[in-house]
Amino acid sequence: MSGVAAPPLVRVAGVSKSYRRGGQVVPVLADITLDIPGGAFLGLMGPSGSGKSTLLNLIAGIDKPDAGSIAVAGVDITRLPEAELADWRAANVGFIFQFYNLMPVLSALENVELPLTLARMDRRERRERAQATLELVGLGDRMEHFPSELSGGQQQRVAIARAIVTDPRILVADEPTGDLDRHSAEEILALMDRLNVDLGKTIVMVTHDRRAAERAHSIMHLEKGELFAHEELPR
């Protein structure tokens, strides 16, 4: 990070969130304040129910907090109406899920093209960009394969290509290695590391795997909806 005055990319300020479950209000996040600088690779760790996924969902703009604000690159996403928030996600957020969440009826290439259909882009440009991105994740030879014809690691790489093809400001990953064997998990983490270091992508990753989290530059620990500890990791 150069320049001390550069504002953080993500500024989470006083965010609380609770769910209603069977008439009972269950607090999930309590007054979270957190800054994520651009180019960071942040790991969110914590036991189940600690609120780490909820925090990730709030930063990604697929959930809304009960209180507080979340500003991404100066835009308070908690104030955006739903349709505008959808457009904001399409332009600014790349998602990586534990179970890849590819469209089973679409080929690898079509899955990667899918978010580009939301951008103003002609068909050829879309195709070329999706192809280049698949090559970047090492799947240049699997473009016409359907998800069911790919291994877990390959599917997750398609999902990562889908997440970065729109060149979003921020990548959110929820247990990206949770469904993979050790070897594939290492490959995925190495790829994410490259995205962060070579392409400067800001990544927020939820995991409860310590080895995965150690790929990050810093780790936030959550417990019972509160930030519990913050550790900076040596590069």
């Binding site: 959808a86 998602f95 009826v105 079509e110 899918l114 939301l118």
Partner: protein
């Protein structure tokens, strides 16, 4: 921005059996719907083809059908001498004074006697019906006890081959030929010389007078004059309109019954489509959550599932319409309640039926897909993603 259509289409292809069964249900409904309309169109086309645009047909006022009509010789002479009537070679008016009676003949397949129209035709009768051509044998000779039979009569009744004899009106009539009237109602008739048939049936009066107009535009003037002439008690219609009116009762019955049945069936098919689409939404909840996370709006999700239901209906429509088209090979013969005579016609496909059945199928698709699509669009992103 809509979800790409390929996504909806591929999902239909992915669950082939469900798609086939659901579309099959819709296809059956489209088939019934189209077949009924084709039946109605065939009936109308047979009767409309029967009339020539420049012919008029005169019957007794309020008779409605030729069988209930009587026009005496004096009245016929007045009609014949009108200046609007076209003249043939030698200045003879092109007019046919006709007598129409019914006889019962046994049907070939069932042996059941059925009413058949016998038409006694005047000298101008053939000039007035250029659609008529001999298929076999020759035309009857005026003054002889000879008749010719229409194509569908020859196919459907016993004892009507060329050279065979029919007994009616106290005489034996030799069948000397078979004619093809181009699928019109005349194909279901037996024709002979008008004067001979009047004698045989002891009829002093004609049933109708058919005349060709020199100028089809003069119809209204002629109609007004003849219908207000105190010597006449007649009704003047264009021949085509007359035959159209003949089909009204049967046509209404077919279309009302058919459309009512189709609509009832369509409720079943629509519910089938709805169940299929609800299942699709339930199975793909995580996909819906993912699409929303990627930035597709609720409207896009609604559109994708609605498109899927509409595509499903289009598959059903295409299959149903294809099956219905095959019905064009089938000929139907039934009693026309207005003339009490047998009438044969074909299921007839028209562009209008193609369009109407398409709208009908689309309506089923939209009705079946709407509620499931709304459910898909209303899913919360986080809850939907958790369904993975």
């Amino acid at each position: 921005m809509p979800v790409p259509l390929a996504y909806s289409l591929r999902n239909l292809r992915a669950r082939k059996l469900t798609t086939a069964l659901t579309a099959g249900g819709m296809a059956l409904v489209v088939f019934v719907f189209a077949a009924v309309l084709m039946l109605d169109a065939g009936l109308k086309s047979a009767l409309v083809k029967t009339g020539q645009p420049d012919n008029i047909l005169v019957t007794r006022r309020s008779a409605g059908t030729e069988i209930q009509s009587a026009v005496d010789r004096q009245q016929a002479a007045v009609i014949e001498s009108q200046p609007e009537v076209a003249l043939g070679p030698g200045g003879v008016p092109i007019v046919s004074k006709e007598v129409v009676v019914l006889i019962a003949l046994p049907k070939r397949d069932s042996g059941v006697p059925t009413n058949v129209t016998i038409r006694g035709v005047g000298p101008g009768g053939l000039a007035l019906r250029p659609q008529l051509a001999m298929a076999q044998g020759r035309m009857y000779r005026p003054g002889a006890s000879e008749v010719v039979v229409g194509r569908t009569i020859a196919e459907r009744f016993d004892g009507v081959g060329v050279g065979e004899r029919l007994r009616f009106g106290g005489r034996e009539w030799t069948i000397v030929g078979t004619f093809d009237a181009g699928g019109s109602a005349f194909d279901s008739e037996v024709w002979g010389d008008g004067e001979q048939l009047m004698q045989a049936f002891r009829r002093p009066v004609f049933s109708s007078v058919v005349a060709k107009l020199a100028d089809p535009g003069s119809f209204e003037a002629l109609k007004a004059r003849l219908e207000s002439d105190p010597r006449l008690t007649v009704e003047v219609k264009r021949e085509r309109a007359f035959y159209e009116d003949q089909s009204a009762a049967l046509s209404n019955f077919i279309s009302i019954l058919g459309v009512t049945l189709s609509v009832i069936f369509s409720i079943g098919a629509t519910i089938g489509a709805m169940i299929t689409m609800y299942a699709a939404v339930a199975n793909r909840t995580a996909e819906i959550g993912t699409l929303r996370a990627l930035g597709f709006r609720r409207a896009g999700i609604l559109g994708a599932f609605l498109a899927e239901a509409v595509l499903l209906a289009l598959v059903g429509w295409a299959a149903g319409l294809a099956a219905a088209s095959l019905m064009q090979l089938v000929q139907i013969s039934t009693l026309n309640w207005q003339t009490f005579a047998e009438l044969a016609f074909r299921f007839t496909m028209t562009p209008k039926i193609v369009a109407e059945s398409l709208l009908f199928a689309l309506a089923m698709g939209v009705a079946g897909g709407f509620l499931p699509a709304v459910r898909a669009a209303r899913l919360g992103i986080v809850d939907a993603l958790r369904a993975a």
